[in-house]
Amino acid sequence: MRRSKSLWATAMAAYVFLYAPLVVVVVYSFNDSTMNAQWVGFTWKWYGVLFNDEEMLTAAWNSLLVGLVASAVSTVLGTMAGFALYKYQPKVLPILVVAPIAIPEILMGVSLLIFFVTINLTLGLISITLAHVAFCVGFVAIVVRSRLSGLDESLVEAARDLGASPWKAFRLVTLPLIMPGVVAGALMAFTLSIDDFVITYFTAGADAMTLPLKIYTMVKTTVTPEVNAVSTLLMLVTLVLILAASKLSPSVLRQAD
């Protein structure tokens, strides 16, 4: 594949843009000051504070858990929805898929809270996960749908002609072909879930705490570097998890070449 220098340069500039704030976050996690205002000196102490902060650690763990479950469920549902949108041109589904992305989070949060209370669902990690799936499905569906467009139908037909059931044809032919779209959707869903604040705020109830909620409480007064520390760690942990997952199932991330 030919690679032009200018393409490489602009792409690298984009990476710099993406990582500039991150560098600030990571560097300031070592700041020897209770505020994130100015650099005072280097220290490891905030990581120490973090490891003793049970609330923060629980919140981080909850966020990871909810993120994994919510992204898994919404990826499955979203892929189905994307497929249905592409093939069957349904009437109602398109709106139901797009609207949760469009609707202001605060409205969705309040209305879900009212709904959960009405059906007497205990508010907690489960209610949060259900809420997250609702708004993540659309992201996955839209990406999968766009990946499906331009799909070579003849491959699928060939499989069917050879006697494969629709499910088998999907699993062995279509799915590998749209896998980058599915993975992209899953990554987006996960990101949306672990970072969600507004909807989680309303559907969390008295017992469940996720990281964005916990961080919000600190942001309202002073942002100590402990927050930077937990952000840095969360990134690292998630990265390690994903890399480990990709090692275990190399075919997942990669399209069948």
């Binding site: 799936v133 990946r147 467009s149």
Partner: protein, 295 residues
Amino acid sequence: MKVSRTQRWAVGAPPLLYLLIFFAIPTLIMVVASFRQPGEYGGLAPLFLEGENGTWRLDVTLESYRAVFSDTLYTGLFLKSFGYALVTTFACLVIAYPLALLIARSPAKVRDLLVLLVILPFWSNFLIRVYAWMIILGPQSAFILGLNGLLGSVGLEPVELLNTPFAVVVGLVYVHLPFMVLPLYANLEKHDPSLLDAAQDLGANAWQRFWRVIFPLSLPGVYAGAALVFIPAFGIFAIPDILGGTTGIMIGNVIKQQFLETRDWPFGSVLSMILTAIAVLVAGLAAWFARRSRL
């Protein structure tokens, strides 16, 4: 190929049902709320009021709807948010495209890593990242000091980037960038390299190859990314709040206020529905364009 009814149902029903239960019904509660009176102390007033003879009547009103259109205040803010969302979408497209292209063309092993590197920053925390931008764009940052030093040496006035519309756009673009990169990448990844080779053999230069071959093929990905950036950006409130200074208000902020400070849920509901309707319209247009450009 004939599609059986059961197949349609098996695939379409689960997401449909899920969204009906956990999205449509809760939202319906708020749609009805837009016709109700705000509660005296917050929330909503009771739907039914006791009448004189002990009969119950429905206490509904169009007051909230009238309030939205009574002057240009709210429509102006809708337009402002629309404008910002549009600018953000274009900026994201311009920045994301080279990145997605590079990743799509990279060898398989590196590709996954590059994709992960794009999304990794977004597993930190939203607020922290935005606050980091406050530091970078703030008057005491190395970046700003360096920039102003540069401007000063050429005889230009120093700039203040924080608490300006520029800062808001930077924040909006930053936060939405992966949602443009990933759909674009998912689309570009499947492009057949032989098409490009053929174009080059036929004498097309790099720019023509891009504009006549790559870009049109990638349109479905472009529309998907545009939808996933524009729609959330349209209703966002946190970024104008933090980076926007005194003029940073957008319609998302007004909606948030209705549910919190003002405790005027009916009004917030009306604004939300208008916002959603516009966004769904835009998404519909995007899908329509995408279908037209389907190859």
